[in-house]
């Protein structure tokens, strides 16, 4: 296929995309809306949350700290526990979201050893809320510490110790940005590629295309190009929004992040290709893309639910979900700020998957109608 042929194909695909204003609007608007929704969900304030206190020291320091916690607008102390044995039942009844535990001799340690400990136990079945609560509690405690320390040479320090119940490895606050990236790329590339190809089958234009000198596979490659570009626009808008609106920094290398995203886009495109060769109607293509690709992306990539906590079979299955690997890569590069050296394994898995999927879809691609 000559260069002009290929270009005219791409031009045609762009006409299709640009002239379907509604779909284009959704494709470009979806990432923005998702980032905003998740961003809003994350920053929503926690007010007057029910907490309990287990005071095993009962001294001036614990009394004034308890008073400050209760006075803050974030908390309301609803119970005073007598022993550690009451902690579990208090959570299970669903009454309290967090328990503040002062160990015996808290005030004493603070005054004489200049070092005391307080334990915060939070119900992390809702990780965002747990995280917010412990942060607020920490702030209250630190504020108290600062006031006590004023004019002292040897500052007292209170060490807070967290325990996250039910979700020990609490996901980071920024987990949704990599998650949304994985979701959006998967949705656009897989579903839209599958749908546009199947649409040509439904329309009958694929029939005419096949009875022409064009190499069939190139028809399909040409279809992928505009979606690759569209995905780049989406990656850019997600990154811009997360940096400037949500204050989620890009700690690692931007070129690496973009390169990895393009790799994942290719994985999704080849998945879409595979779906399109197996289906004959737009409805089926959409259904398979949604249930077969989108749901696993959301459920098994670690974005919504931590993979570590899943039963073994699901953990095994999660390994074949491309989004899981991409999610790990983005989190590492963007949030942790590590370099290629730390994610080369995941990159290799993703590249391997892409090669495998492309190979199968090329093999399965029909040069005839049935």
């Amino acid at each position: 296929m000559g260069k002009s042929q290929f270009l005219s194909f791409i031009k045609k695909e762009f006409y299709h995309i640009l002239r379907d204003r509604k779909t284009l609007f959704i494709l470009l608007g979806m990432p923005v809306v998702q980032i905003v929704i998740f961003g809003f969900a994350l920053t929503n304030e926690v007010k007057n949350s029910a907490i309990a206190v287990l005071d095993q020291s009962k001294d001036d320091a614990t009394a004034s700290l308890t008073g400050e916690l209760d006075a803050s607008r974030y908390f309301e102390i609803v119970a005073s526990l007598k022993s550690a044995a009451e902690i579990g039942p208090a959570f299970r009844k669903g009454k309290v979201k967090m328990v503040v535990v002062f160990p015996p001799g808290f005030g004493n340690d603070l005054k004489h050893l200049n070092n005391a400990q307080v334990q915060l136990i939070a119900d992390a079945s809702d990780p965002n809320v747990a995280n917010t609560l412990t942060n607020y509690a920490n702030a209250v405690i630190m504020g108290y510490q600062d006031r006590v320390n004023q004019g002292l040479k040897l500052p007292y320090t209170i060490k807070t110790e967290y325990r996250m119940l039910y979700n020990p490895q609490l996901k980071g606050a920024y987990s949704f940005v990599p998650g949304v990236m994985a979701m959006v790329l998967m949705l656009i590339c897989t579903m839209m590629t599958a749908i546009t190809i199947v649409k040509e089958k439904e329309l009958g234009t694929m029939e005419v295309m096949l009875v022409s000198p064009v190499q069939p596979l190139k028809i399909v490659v040409a279809k992928a190009v505009p979606y690759l570009l569209l995905s780049c626009v989406n990656i850019a808008s997600i990154l811009l929004l997360s940096v400037f609106v949500l204050d989620v920094p890009i700690n690692g290398s931007l070129p690496l992040l973009v390169a990895e995203s393009i790799l994942f886009t290719l994985t999704s495109l080849s998945l879409g290709l595979l779906i399109s060769s197996a289906t004959g109607s737009q409805q089926t293509a959409m259904f398979i893309s949604l249930t077969g690709m989108f749901l696993p992306t959301v459920m098994l990539s670690g974005f919504m639910f931590p993979v570590e906590n899943m039963p073994l079979p699901l953990r095994v299955i999660s390994n074949v979900v491309p989004a899981k690997w991409y999610y790990i890569i983005v989190k590492s590069v963007m949030i942790k700020g590590v370099g290629f050296g730390a994610v080369w394994k995941e990159t290799l898995v993703l590249a391997g998957m892409t090669a495998f999927l492309l190979l199968i879809s090329i093999k399965k691609f029909k040069i005839r109608l049935s």
Partner: protein, 318 residues
């Protein structure tokens, strides 16, 4: 030179349990430059046949060639030199007329200018609308655009699958006029249609029904092969007349045909016999005259032939 050949083509669909035979040993040959019609109702196998010849489908058995190229082995070479217009409108509805034509020109590695003389007569009729999206065109104009796109690379053989289905009588007539012009340019044309009256516009036709070819001949040849006496009969009350004609002992067949009923006589019966039969009934305004059979009469007769698989094929398959 043979432009298209088909030898014992068989195509079935479905599972082992529930087999539908789309083509049952179909054989024919089309000469270079011929306008060849495949005439038959929906479900006769026309589309399967066209798809096999255009390399889109593989036959279960049998052989076929286009321009002396094998439809299975020489797929790429054939795809370079045939033009194909599938049954439904298969252009991009969201591209304009000009964009569609340009696009098809590039994928066939040619340009509009290069072969403009071939499509000029057709394309000029839609050129005033060249900036209109194809989806907004009328049925007749869509058809002209599709034909222009199928011709843009100057194909040696043109396959038109039911180009006139669902199109009104005026556009149908215009379309056949265009085909005549194309034929003069030396292009071999295979066209399928469910409209029997279009058969007479072809050089030769194959009548096809449920995967079986009933007859292949020139339209005149097919009509000449219709041997029994055919009468056109009418009366004031047409439906009772039809029922009476069907009960007539000398009737091989009787069916409605436009403003008359057609009565096919068994040998040994004649017009006078029919007249005296009808005189015995209460029909008024009876008119009886000999009639020349047309393709549709032949098709009905061939369908009802007791021999061959075609005869009982319009019964639901068991």
């Amino acid at each position: 030179m043979k432009s298209v050949t088909a030898q014992d083509l068989v195509k079935t669909y479905g599972t082992k349990k529930d087999v539908v035979t789309a083509l049952n040993n179909v054989s024919f040959e089309v000469e270079q430059g011929e306008l060849f019609g495949i005439i038959g109702p929906d479900g006769a196998g026309k589309t399967s046949l066209f798809r096999i010849l255009t390399t889109l489908l593989l036959a279960d058995s049998g052989r076929a060639t286009v321009d002396n190229l094998d439809v299975v082995k020489d797929l790429k070479a054939i795809r370079k030199r045939v033009g194909y217009m599938p049954g439904r409108f298969s252009l991009y509805q969201d591209l304009t007329v000009a964009e569609n034509l340009e696009f098809f020109a590039t994928i066939f590695e040619t340009s509009i200018q290069e072969n403009y003389d071939l499509i000029k007569d057709i394309y000029q009729q839609i050129e005033p609308f060249k900036d209109r999206r194809a989806g907004k065109l009328s049925g007749g104009m869509k058809q002209k655009l599709a034909l222009s796109c199928a011709l843009i690379h100057r194909p040696g053989v043109l396959f038109l699958d039911e180009p006139t289905t669902g199109v009104d009588a005026v556009s149908r007539k215009e379309f056949w006029d265009m085909l005549k012009t194309l034929k003069r340019q030396g292009i071999t044309i295979l066209v399928s249609t469910p409209y029997m009256d279009e058969a007479s516009l072809c050089d030769r036709v194959a009548l096809i029904q449920t995967g079986n070819i009933l007859s292949i001949d020139s339209p005149a040849g097919i009509v000449d092969n219709f041997k029994p006496t055919l009468l056109a009969v009418r009366a004031n009350q047409m439906y009772p007349l039809l029922l009476d004609l069907q009960r007539y002992e000398g009737a091989r067949d009787a069916y409605a045909f436009g403003e008359y009923h057609h009565l096919v006589l068994k040998s040994g019966f004649n017009e006078a016999g029919v007249r005296s039969y009808l005189d015995r009934s209460a029909h008024e305004g009876v008119e009886i005259k000999p009639s020349r059979p047309v393709i549709e009469d032949c098709f009905i007769a061939l369908m009802k032939q007791p021999t061959g698989a075609a005869a009982d094929n319009h019964q639901p398959s068991a």
